[in-house]
């Protein structure tokens, strides 16, 4: 459905935010995983027609997004990473206004849209409250409600769960899963779990490039036998970092668990780890870091 080819974006200050992104995304939930500053939001905004890439091609179905942004907008639902709202406007009124902006002209249609969505996002009881006074979770649900107006065929949600408590996050994801069956939903996040739980397909974006993409299970499968772990004292960490390709460390019961990437068994007390998506992600990042170090 959505095809990106060689999409590049260089900001006026010289920052190369996107560096030849080529990817195809089909129907269903698609997870775009990447650390902060990887270019996720730039990519989301570029797809959402908010910025024109310096080079490249974007197609959605039969729409050439760059030459006909209007056609894409007609069928786009977009929830930006960070958004505020107008002061002194209630949820109902603002959603109604958004429905108008999205092109629902009949008052009855708008009413059906607004009320259905308010119920669906569990905001019906607070519909007369100003959105500015909403909690983070309520605001995100409002955000998804506005993104769903008019049955879009492409929905982009950028870092939607930042700052939500686990319960709110859960509720939010249930909403997404419900709608994500027949249309393209791109979920950008830096939280591996989100992708693992929701997305049948995913990609890792780092340094403005797609580092890998595929189905999470498949990627985990592929990484089997390359990730090794051992538990050491904290003071040996530097030594380990020098000797191995360390992709992650974490503390466990006061000692440090070290994950390293290796094609073979590194010995030295390491044992093979049943790979998780997190390891896949982290090793992709480690690759990208190395690549950029070599380039530098």
């Amino acid at each position: 459905m959505l095809h990106l080819k060689g999409v590049e974006h260089v900001y006026p200050n010289g920052t190369r935010a996107l560096d030849g992104v080529t990817i195809s995304i089909g129907k269903g939930m698609f997870g775009l995983l990447g650390p902060n500053g990887a270019g996720k939001s730039s990519l989301m905004r570029t797809i959402a027609t908010l910025q024109t890439p310096t080079a490249g091609e974007i197609r959605f179905g039969d729409i050439d997004v760059l030459t006909e942004p209007g056609r894409l907008r007609s069928t786009l639902g977009y929830l930006p990473q960070d958004f505020g709202v107008y002061p002194r406007v209630s949820a109902y009124d603002l959603l109604d206004h958004m429905a108008s902006l999205k092109g629902i002209t009949s008052a009855a249609d708008r009413r059906a849209t607004v009320e259905t969505l308010l119920v669906q996002t569990n905001l019906w009881n607070v519909r007369t409250k100003t959105v500015a006074g909403f909690s983070g979770g309520m605001r995100q649900r409002f955000g998804i409600a506005q993104a769903l107006i008019g049955n879009p065929k492409l929905i982009i949600v950028d870092e939607p769960t930042a700052g939500l408590d686990p319960e709110e996050r859960n509720r939010f994801y249930n909403l997404l899963v419900e709608i994500g069956e027949n249309i393209v939903v791109i979920l950008s996040t830096h939280i591996v779990e989100d992708v693992a739980d929701l997305c049948p397909r995913m990609a890792v974006l780092a340094a403005g490039r797609i580092q890998l993409d595929g189905a999470p299970g498949e990627l985990i499968q592929r990484s089997r036998g390359t990730v090794w772990a051992t538990t050491i004292d904290r003071d040996r960490l530097d030594e380990m970092k020098a000797a191995y390709n360390v992709i992650a460390t974490r503390l466990f019961a006061g000692r440090t668990v070290v994950h390293v990437l290796s094609e073979r068994d590194p010995g030295n007390g390491f044992s093979a780890v049943e790979g998780s998506l997190e390891d896949v992600y982290l090793s992709a990042l480690a690759h990208s870091r190395r690549a950029s170090q070599r380039a530098a």
């Binding site: 108008s100 902006l101 009320e115 259905t116 008019g150």
Partner: protein, 1206 residues
């Protein structure tokens, strides 16, 4: 702890950019306002730029405007901790509330106090600037600067700091604090405007927080020399004001701190209950739920989206508190504008539409500009500021809808507020003031339509400027530049209407509608609307949709995006604008003359340099004028055929004849002078010189014929000088007012019409103006004050049949034929050569006054004051004929004309009033001074004191024309209304005279030597003549005047002068004291100080009452610069006791318990008065006949004395 916090706060404020921006801004403002010769804030005239009063005044004014800065300082003291979230950290430390709040406040206040030092510093540095004229500077004295800073500025900073600190504490919002400042500002100005009208300003002074009334009371009558040299003193009134308001501000701070809570407020029980009920109600509604959401159809939704978006923008503005604050302020401002409109001597006017539209538009324009600028910034940047831009930008809203909806939103709000609400308020005001025939047509054409277009044009500008600005503040800055650009452009001579965006002026009149300038106005409005359309296209193309779009990028890609509809739209708007500009330019500059002020001054200067050599050449005297005038008001054409007869009244042969048009724009055609040939023709200045074939011998006469035409061609600009409107508007379709100054040539050459004002003359390299000849200059008695001859006139005018003609002279015939009216007017006696021709659809009301036919020619919708005018005319003629001598005509007319800036004037047998002067004054309140009666009597008196007796052109000439007309009118008023109205009137005259002295740029002259100084010959003249008739006797004074008339009536040179009047009055003096009194009034500048210092009453055993009044008296002589020296006071003065305060409403003869003229000497003295009734007030000179700088202390309440010991 307090010190630490205060010190920290001061350091914080000084490090804040606001501090530096404010300091620099106020430095530059003050520097500019004091060093620019055209501004000279606080000084001007003979008052030095760094005079003590100027230094104080500038600091006072700046300290008012500084409240915007103070608010920034104290406003964020509390709020900033809430905003940064640092508040909770601080409040959880051990710092107590008191040191925290007081420390913060003190630090912020000190910051403001330091920043304000920029103002005195700028004045001081300004005095060293090389371009400042050293004539305008005095010595710099440190104490003057300190006085202004510590007495005026610092307390004001503290007061504003306190108020806005309290507001910020209470609202915890900087925005609200700022809105309060704006509200406060308007409230303050409204309050002061009101307070200044109070009868007792010394009480009003306490209500005014910033000491400006108290301060100005202290300095208002200082003469220039006093203002320049005297160190200012902290008088009791000012000190009281300062202490009172310092106490109030201290109280405000204390209350603010006391009410301030560190913790946030919780929800009250009743609020909670109400909320629960609301929730229940909400939960009861069943939502409409669909299985599948309806699809959108954005391709067909454009108009719906635009409408929704526009209404949404409007709703957001309506919901913002700023809107309500501004709306309230504008409503108040409009009300006070309406209420004060057209008041003269505090007489209100009938709020007829034509008379108030200008004021209403002014008020609405002010608020339009403020709101458009403010909300354009808010609206254009709203999505970005609220971080909602990505969501909106990603919707299928068409690109053009972004700018258009913002524009429509702002314009829509302004249309509601600045057009609809203003209209409603104005009409309600008219209705409330008893004007029931509301003229909706006028409102529509003169206010609604022009204002609506203006609102749209200004909204476009404000929005587009924001759309092409990198941020909101730059956009606001650009709009502020636009605000001052108009003034700057005008100063640079760029006042062509095609250059000043959206500015259209149309002078309005009830009689003549918008016939003058109305068509041009609509052309210009259309032109600016098309121009606005160009701006819209640019704004649309520059609109930044999306997140990575820069101004620069938009600009670079603009040509690409221009293709298609934008290009079509832009090019058609551009084409229409250019074609219209060309058409208008052709009409205004080529068909008609567009003359900038500077060009006209240049012409006059060159004219003077070339022609002043001819001044004083012997020239013939005009004796007869015959005119045939073809007036076609509806076509705006007038043709004049004239013939002159002149005679050589000099003793020498005359070789050349100068024929000159005073207003050179009217072409003079086919002039012919039999027996002379044209030797010089100057078409630019319309000046011709003829040489007689053989010189015109003494006593010989000759003739001249001429033709001239008034014709409006195409569309013309209004003159840049409003005083020229009245001439430029002719011939008006209804209410034509043609004077021979405009259409007929003058013979001979004199200095009239030369450039006036010595500064202006210096600029063009001309000699300073010739001084008026001294009073003692006997040779000058040969020249009359007005310099025109007495002529016989015979004028025939043809006009439209439905119009009435009124022309100089007696009506000989009047007939209608072929749809045209022809009337002939012939002067019964030779009259001064002032010819007026008036034609309009008049109603006429007439009355008879012992053989004189009185008529008032008026616009049928202005009948309000006609009877009053007729009655006053009769009263005046009765008095004048009885006391002065015969009136020279068998008719006396009052004629109304459209209001194009002219006021009242007096032509032979005629008093002219413009619509606003007289005809629309509202006298329903009998307490008001009958100013109309006064002016009418004054103008009729000119039939004697100008038209009968013409003074010589020497100093003091106006004493015989204006002062005596003032006196005559005062006498008519005295007999009509009694002395109370006179007191009210004299009070105004005192004020105008004393303030006039202060503004004097040259030397103040004694009355007998007055030199075209209105405040002397009108205002002081009234007081002087009233005093003299009180002391010498009205009847005896009139005998002198009658003698003067008998001697000089209609006589040629030598002409009389003011000393003739003074000599006559001196002959009346019965005592040396009276003689000195007369000399004091006419030959010296005399100021008196009469004061009641104490008044006690006690009952006498016989049941009567004895009042003891302590009176202080002083007299001083001033020189022309205001230096005073004390003199001995020794006069008979009225001392009275009353049961009510003279000057209060309802005070009448019955309130006078006793009034006696008693000898009073310099210094203090006690006067005892025994009366039957018990007095409540007592005083000296209660009717204010002596010129006195403080009129409020002449009368005081009487207190009871205890016991019998006194």
């Amino acid at each position: 702890m307090f010190h630490t916090i205060a010190r920290f706060e001061l350091r914080y404020q000084v490090g804040n950019p606001v501090f530096w921006v404010a300091t620099v801004m106020f430095f530059l403002l003050t520097f500019g306002a004091t060093t620019a010769e055209s501004i000279r804030l606080g000084s001007g005239g003979n008052i030095h730029t760094n005079a003590p009063t100027a230094v104080a005044q500038i600091q006072l004014i700046m300290s008012l405007f500084f409240m915007f800065v103070t608010t920034a300082f104290v406003g964020n003291v509390v709020v900033r901790d809430d905003e940064t979230g640092f508040g909770s950290i601080i409040r959880s430390t051990r710092i107590g509330k008191l040191p925290y709040m007081f420390g913060r406040f003190s630090g912020a206040f000190l910051g403001a106090a330091v920043a304000f030092l920029a103002v005195p510093l700028a004045i001081w540095i300004g005095t060293f600037m090389p371009w400042v004229n050293p004539d305008f500077l005095g010595p710099n004295r440190v104490q003057d600067y300190l006085w202004g800073y510590f007495v005026l500025a610092l307390p004001n900073l503290l007061i504003t700091s306190a108020i806005f600190f309290a507001v910020a504490c209470w609202t915890r919002s900087v925005t609200y604090s700022y809105l309060t400042v704006i509200l406060f500002m308007f409230g303050y100005f409204a309050l002061t405007a009101m307070l200044r009208k109070w009868p007792d300003l010394s009480v009003a002074a306490y209500f005014e927080p910033f000491g400006s009334i108290a301060y100005s009371l202290g300095i208002r009558y200082l003469t220039p020399i006093q203002a320049n040299t005297q160190a200012l003193e902290l008088n009791a009134l000012l000190l009281g004001n300062r202490l009172l308001w310092l106490a109030i501000s201290a109280a405000i701070v204390v209350i603010a701190v006391w009410r301030f809570r560190f913790a946030e407020r919780g929800v009250s029980k009743s609020d909670a209950k109400r909320q629960a009920a609301r929730e229940q109600k909400l939960a009861a509604v069943t939502p409409v739920i669909v299985d599948r959401l309806p699809a959108n159809t954005p391709e067909r939704a454009a108009w719906h989206q635009l409408r929704t978006r526009t209404l949404f923008e409007m709703k957001l503005i309506f919901k913002s508190p700023a809107f309500w604050v501004l709306a309230l302020v504008s409503a108040l401002n409009l009300f006070s504008t309406l209420n004060l409109a057209g008041r003269f001597y505090d007489v209100p006017m009938w709020p007829r539409t034509f008379a108030i539209v200008d004021g209403v538009r002014g008020a609405s324009v002010l608020i339009t500009l403020l709101m458009a600028i403010y909300f354009a910034g808010e609206v254009v940047w709203r999505e970005r500021e609220r971080r909602f831009n990505e969501i909106v930008d990603a919707t299928p809203l068409p690109n053009w809808a972004f700018l258009i909806s913002k524009l429509a939103g702002v314009a829509g709000v302004l249309l509601v507020l600045c057009v609809a609400v203003v209209l409603l308020e104005s009409i309600l005001f008219q209705w409330a003031r008893g004007l029931t025939d509301i003229e909706f047509g006028q409102w529509l054409a003169w206010f609604v339509a022009p204002s609506a277009l203006y609102v749209i044009q200004i909204s476009v500008l404000a929005i587009v400027v924001q759309a092409v600005s990198p941020n909101k503040f730059v956009g606001w800055g650009i709009m502020l530049l636009y605000l001052i650009a108009g003034t700057v452009f005008a100063g640079m001579g760029l006042n062509h209407p095609l250059l000043n965006y959206a500015e259209v002026t149309v002078p309005l009149s009830d009689m003549n509608g918008a016939n003058y300038g109305g068509t041009e106005g609509w052309w210009l409005r259309t032109y600016w609307t098309m121009f606005a359309a160009i701006l819209v296209v640019i704004g649309h193309l520059m609109w930044r949709r999306g997140t990575a779009v820069t101004l620069d990028g938009q600009w670079r890609t603009l040509p690409a995006r221009l293709r298609g509809k934008p290009l079509a739209f832009l090019s058609s708007a551009l084409l229409v604008t250019i074609v219209m500009a060309g058409f208008l330019y052709y009409n205004m500059n080529i068909l008609n003359h567009f003359v900038s002020q500077e060009e006209e001054e240049n012409r006059l200067a060159r004219y003077e340099k070339e022609y002043s050599q001819y001044v004083g050449l012997p020239q013939p005297t005009l004796t007869d004028i015959k005119l045939d005038v073809d007036l076609q008001p509806s076509r705006r054409v007038a043709r004049f055929d004239g013939s002159y007869r002149f005679v050589n009244a000099t003793a020498v042969p005359i070789e050349t004849l100068h024929v000159r048009m005073m207003i050179p724009l009217v072409p003079l055609r086919s002039v012919s002078v039999p027996g002379a040939k044209l030797v010089h023709e100057d078409k630019v200045n319309n000046h011709r010189i003829y040489q007689f074939d053989s010189p015109l011998q003494p006593g010989a006469s000759g003739s001249l014929t001429f033709q001239s035409v008034y014709e409006k061609r195409g569309l013309a600009t209004l003159p840049s000088d409003k005083r020229a409107y009245e001439f430029d508007a002719q011939p008006a379709p209804n209410g034509a007012y043609l004077t021979n100054l405009g259409f007929a040539p003058f013979l001979g050459m004199n200095r009239s019409g030369f450039l006036q004002g010595n500064n202006l003359r210096r600029k063009y390299g001309l000699e300073p103006e010739l001084p008026t000849p001294q009073l003692e200059d006997e040779a000058a008695l040969a020249w009359s004050y007005v310099g025109v001859d007495r002529v016989n006139t015979d004028i025939t005018v043809t006009t439209d049949a439905d119009q009435t003609l009124v022309v100089t002279g007696a009506r000989v015939s009047d007939s209608v034929a072929n749809g045209r009216r022809t009337a002939r007017f012939v002067s019964p006696i030779p009259t001064l050569n002032f010819i007026t021709i008036q034609s309009a659809r008049y109603d006429v009301k007439t009355a008879d006054a012992d053989g004189v036919k009185l008529s008032v020619y008026y616009f049928p919708k202005h009948p309000m004051n006609i009877d009053r005018m007729l009655a006053v005319m009769r009263d005046s003629l009765d008095y004048y004929r009885k006391n002065f001598g015969p009136y020279q005509y068998s008719y006396a007319r009052i004629i109304e004309r459209p209001d194009y800036g002219g006021g009242a004037n007096s032509a032979p047998g005629t008093v002219g009033y413009s619509e606003k002067a007289g005809f629309t004054m509202d006298f329903r309140d009998p307490q008001r001074l009958d100013f109309l009666a006064y002016v009418t009597a004054h103008e009729l008196a000119h039939q004697y004191w100008f038209h009968q007796v013409m003074p010589a052109d020497v100093q003091g000439a106006e004493v015989l024309t204006e002062t005596l007309s003032q006196y005559s009118a005062l006498m008519v008023m005295k007999h009509r209304y009694g002395p109370d109205q006179i007191r009210q009137f004299l009070k105004y005259e005192h004020d105008y005279y004393l303030q006039g002295r202060r503004k004097e740029a040259a030397d103040e002259q004694p009355l007998a030597r007055v030199n075209k100084q209105g405040y002397i010959h009108y205002n002081k003249g009234s007081i002087v003549m009233y005093l003299l008739q009180e002391h010498l006797g009205e009847e005896r004074v009139n005998t002198v005047l009658r003698g003067l008339l008998d001697r000089y009536r209609f006589k040629p040179a030598p002409y009389p002068r003011s000393s003739d009047l003074v000599d006559g009055l001196l002959a009346l003096a019965r005592t040396p004291e009276e003689r000195e009194l007369i000399l004091d009034q006419f030959y010296r500048i005399t100021l008196y100080d009469l004061r009641a210092k104490q008044a006690m009453v006690r009952s006498l055993p016989d049941g009567r009452f004895e009042t003891t009044i302590t009176i202080h008296a002083a007299k001083a002589y001033a020189d022309g610069k205001g230096n005073e020296r004390q003199a001995e006071f020794n006069e008979h003065v009225n001392v009275g006791v009353f049961t009510a305060q003279p000057g209060d409403s309802g005070f009448g003869r019955e309130n006078v318990v006793s009034m006696q003229r008693l000898p009073i000497r310099s210094g203090e003295q006690q006067i005892r008065i025994v009366t039957q009734r018990k007095p409540v007030y007592a005083g000296v000179d209660p009717y204010l006949t002596f010129i006195d700088r403080n009129l409020n202390d002449n009368v005081m309440p009487v207190s009871d004395s205890r016991g019998n010991d006194s």
